[in-house]
């Protein structure tokens, strides 16, 4: 069964540094998402992406965040200048063209900001 893959599995970064989290969605999917889960808290929506543009973003997704689909297969989340509170598990998800199709999640990237 096809899966969403995310790299790296764990990223440790100094505060203030830029970080790029990578995702390869399922190949025929058209909707892409990033969520995050701070330790002990619920999963929170960050951003959704469709037709090469952001379709929705949350309050968390401020100017420090950006997403890109650079080559038709990868879907990246960039945090420009990381803060301690960005430490979380970041999940990528994708879903197909049919609105009935559910979102499939990757294993996540654990981001630790020092």
């Amino acid at each position: 069964e096809p899966e969403v893959t995310q790299t790296p599995s764990h990223q440790v970064t100094q505060m203030g540094q830029e970080v790029i989290l990578r995702c390869v969605p399922i190949s025929n999917h058209l909707y892409f998402y990033w969520y995050r889960q701070i330790l002990g808290q619920k999963v929170e929506f960050l951003v959704s992406f469709y037709n090469n543009e952001i379709s929705e973003k949350s309050e968390i997704f401020d100017d420090q965040f950006s997403v890109e689909r650079p080559d038709g297969s990868n879907f990246t989340l960039k945090i420009r200048s990381t803060k301690l509170e960005d430490s979380a598990m970041y999940f990528c998800a994708s879903s197909g063209v049919n609105s009935n199709q559910p979102q499939h999640f990757g294993d996540g990237t654990r981001l630790s900001i020092l």
């Binding site: 959704s48 379709s55 929705e56 879903s95 609105s99």
Partner: protein, 109 residues
Amino acid sequence: AQRVTQPEKLLSVFKGAPVELKCNYSYSGSPELFWYVQYSRQRLQLLLRHISRESIKGFTADLNKGETSFHLKKPFAQEEDSAMYYCALRRGQGGKLIFGQGTELSVKP
């Protein structure tokens, strides 16, 4: 505002006992509801969705629009059911998922 509430943070039962994980939602339109399961901090895996009306791993969930609930049930819990369970709501085509706080299910031998 759209909201999903899972009132129990932790639910502990013995193997073979019935399980009910509660989920209530707040949404003005026609929601689409899901249960996701997360084993030992692995990926979120889709367990059930209300439009499928199917049973997966012995779990069922019925959407009750009158009570705005989507409780997850299993008649006989197994140790391998121990995991975090998240109820989620989706609005619209390609819409974001709104998650509840999650319920940790612990099934004791």
